[in-house]
Subunit: 521 residues, 2 copies
């Protein structure tokens, strides 16, 4: 779908697969060509000027219209997404709500208008030795953004997900590279965006969507001279490949790659002693939520050997072994999960604490939850144990004492999240560990679970490498918009020709930093 038109230049066709049964689903999908990608980017660049100047109200109306069109799809969308992703209906309904919620959040952000970070330093004509000029700056959209759909969020991180919503909110046209695991879901959502664009009078090039069963279209999109930024949520390998492609361009552009992590959970002795069963039941649920297919899945549990830890392990093992098996997103992901988790169980010193039963006839699509254990010494010496295994798997590291716990922490790479489970009175004792953990993560949680990423202003979903390739930005929450902008300063400009955000009298009534104070005056 290039700038409002459906094209099928390629004669090849691919089909969607029912994740649970492996059967083909209805619908023919055409891989895009290099020409399609070029057309989409030229149309996006053409639409950019009109779209970036369309005004806050109309841009917000467009975002709200997308949300409304997606809601209007109702059961048709849910059924298709369930079939393609293997995720249960309740999850897809929840994710649809999150998707429309994100679109409406960004619409509100645009309507309110303060997100542009307007900064005004007024002139001081009498300053000595030199007069100070009037300087005003605000954030401006960078241009066409390429969004890669993610396999694990067929709605909330796909065609009209957080990346698309935040890029459109910033004023950037979007070209989506559809994830081949949910082409039908994508077609429905893409059509919803098209209807919303037409209904709100947006330029056609503001949105395009390209299919590909392989990698070539993605490569063309990332290398295209008109592309100004790229977003990706997925594997380390995939993210790094895109970052490398971007680094080879003659004009550099940012790639925002969220590549997942193992999200360590530190279980402090007090909590293990006082409430091992509560912790176990919280974590059995978090590790296996959505078949463990979340970027924030807790893949690593750390504790100091104690009776409490023993009780926790025994309860968590019992609960995880009873977890019903679940359909994974694709047969490939399922196969990969089982291969990697079985390989880790063969690593030196790793023992199996629990493995759930697979159920159903379509075994190729079903995940078994796995809890493994290892000593701190073995964990520290084996980098392989620190790699993410995408699925309902967690590794429990047993430390002898606090010193060894600190060594484990020191061996960890960058993470999206880190969690501490502890009693209020023992936290002060572990401030050094907590401080070390804060240095390797984007979000640090107390007595919760890392799964369930709140979409709000204060959210940071992005941690030090290799969790992401740029820890300065977030892909969840309203600050995701800051990935697609750059500042522009206007010096001694004529007031009426300034953008309204920077004009005297503050006509949009936004928050602005005027001579270093935030004000709406």
């Amino acid at each position: 779908m290039v700038a409002g038109r459906y094209v099928s230049s390629e004669s090849r066709v691919f089909h969607a697969i029912n994740a649970a049964t492996g059967e083909s689903l209805p619908g023919d999908f055409y891989p895009a060509t290099e020409q399609d990608a070029d057309d989409a980017l030229k149309a996006a660049q053409g639409a950019f000027k009109e779209y970036r100047l369309v005004g806050n109200e109309r841009r917000a109306a467009f975002l709200r219209a997308i949300a409304a069109e997606i809601s209007a799809l109702g059961a048709v969308l849910t059924e298709r997404a369930v079939a393609e992703s293997g995720l249960p209906e309740a999850r897809i309904s929840g994710e649809t709500g999150r998707t429309t919620g994100q679109l409406n959040l960004f619409a509100s952000l645009v309507e309110e208008g303060s997100w542009v970070d307007a900064v005004i330093d007024t002139a001081q004509p009498d300053r000595k030795p030199l007069a100070r000029p009037d300087i005003r700056k605000m954030l401006n959209p960078v241009g066409p953004v390429v969004v890669f759909g993610a396999s694990n969020f067929p709605l909330a991180f796909s065609v009209a997900g957080g990346d698309t919503a935040s890029a459109l909110a910033a004023g950037c046209p979007v070209i989506v590279k559809v994830h081949p695991a949910h082409p039908g879901t994508s077609a429905l959502v893409g059509a919803a965006i098209l209807k919303a664009a037409a209904a709100t009078g947006m330029p056609e090039g503001v949105f395009s969507m390209l299919y590909d069963s392989g990698y070539s279209v993605g490569e063309v999109l990332v290398g295209h001279p008109l592309t100004k930024a790229v977003t990706f949520t997925g594997s380390y390998k995939g993210g790094m490949a895109l970052a490398k492609l971007a680094a080879e361009r003659s004009t550099p552009i940012p790639v925002f790659a969220e590549m997942g992590s193992i999200n360590p959970v530190v279980l402090l002795p007090g909590s293990l002693q006082k409430r091992p069963h509560e912790l176990a039941s919280k974590y059995a649920a978090s590790i296996t939520l959505g078949a463990g297919q979340f970027c924030t899945n807790p893949g690593l549990l750390l504790g100091i050997k104690s009776e409490g830890l023993d009780s926790f392990i025994s309860e968590l093992s019992k609960l995880m072994s009873e977890i019903p098996s679940a359909t994974m997103l694709t047969p490939g992901i399922c196969k990969n999960y089982h291969t990697l988790s079985e390989e880790v169980l063969q690593e030196k010193g790793v023992s199996l604490f629990a493995r759930s039963e697979k159920s159903g006839t379509a075994e190729f699509s079903q995940s078994a939850a796995i809890l493994a254990g290892v000593t701190a010494t073995e964990f520290i010496s084996n980098p392989r144990l620190r790699e993410e295994i995408f699925g309902p798997y967690s590794l429990l590291v047993l430390a002898e004492d606090e010193a060894e716990l600190e060594q484990v922490v020191a061996s960890l790479e960058g993470q999206l999240t880190v969690t501490i489970m502890g009693e209020e009175e023992e936290l002060e004792t572990y401030t050094d560990v907590i401080d070390s953990l804060s240095q390797i993560t984007g979000r640090i949680i107390l007595n919760g679970v890392p799964t369930g990423v709140e979409v709000c202003h204060a959210m940071q979903h992005g941690g030090p490498f290799p969790a992401t390739n740029d820890s300065r930005f977030t892909s969840v929450g309203s600050d995701a918009v800051y990935r697609f902008v750059r500042p522009l300063a206007w010096q001694d400009w004529k007031n009426e020709l300034l953008p309204p955000e920077l004009q005297d009298g503050n006509p949009l009534a936004i928050w602005r930093k005027v001579n270093n104070n935030w004000t709406k005056d």
Copy 2:
């Protein structure tokens, strides 16, 4: 100077050169070794934990103490900097004031404390279907920063310049790679930082400074695993070489390279007709200020053919041919300037409007100001004419009409600044040109000159590639601090263990965005 100690592991020695005479200046300087670089980074990493938690007051006191120690150097510093850079005494005095002013600005920023962008979304325990957690985030320093001293600002963009001041303000230790053109100036300033660190009780590793007459130490610093960010102001070639080195690391880090630009000035017909002499005198001064050795030097003037333009050219030619010659920063820069400007004059269609006389005996160090002219057609077809020539040179492009002027604008790459010289009543006619220009620049100036970059909150000194490699950040003004931080979110954290910036009751009384409203409450 590694973490407070002077080391001279290398037996090689190099000397400073008097820019005007070519003679050696007193003082032996020792190139650093790979071991020195490693020691400096390990000391920086060791100091990081203490330094980032030192508190706003003490960090600000350190910055103010550096400023005071630099001021106390007085004439010793001025004389040495004049000798090494060839810049006149008034310029060096002014630059010293700017340097201490920057340090004090960042001290104020740190004391005031709001720069950390604290964002708080409070819990909603009763929200359905899921309770909303309490999430609070703020910016945190990334770790050791490597600063490359710039040749053209021996004080304000060197050892204790804007990069160092903003990195120290952010809470990051700094390792400076000294520019070999002003080693003695650097030694004086480095000693001032050392004294300030000792007087305010800072950890020794917070600052190190390494010499090298070549490139190898810089390469080691950029590639070192403990380096978290790099700043550079200089040539396109130098900046891109550092960016490439960083891209080859196994863990990516940002390089902030400000690589200069030609800073186009569009002369609108009304102003040319009404005040050609005023424009000419403004620009004769701006083009030749500091021997044209500013990143924001106006290297390109654009106008539509008219009587007014003819008057402007004739007056500007007269003024520029009368400009006294000036000592350039280094004999190499001077040679490069004359070679490149003479080569451009040989390009097809380029004519010489004015060339000033060289004076004095030391011709190798003296610049002649040059004004050249070319038609729009020739300019558009020859990319070489769009390259920066570092020195007192400007090229005037003559367009037939507004359409051709727009084509010239469309041929331009990213710029640090763009300037419009126009009468109030004619600006509305040129909104399309102005809009196009706004898309390729970091700062857009009306009826001024691009030289003279105000150090303030609203300044943006950083434009689209190739002016910089990352137009999202600025290297001048208080926002320069945002190059060295990343957000960290705290979820459901115990209030007393949060950083003070995020605690209930706002103990530091900073501006915070609480539930999407800026407040000091």
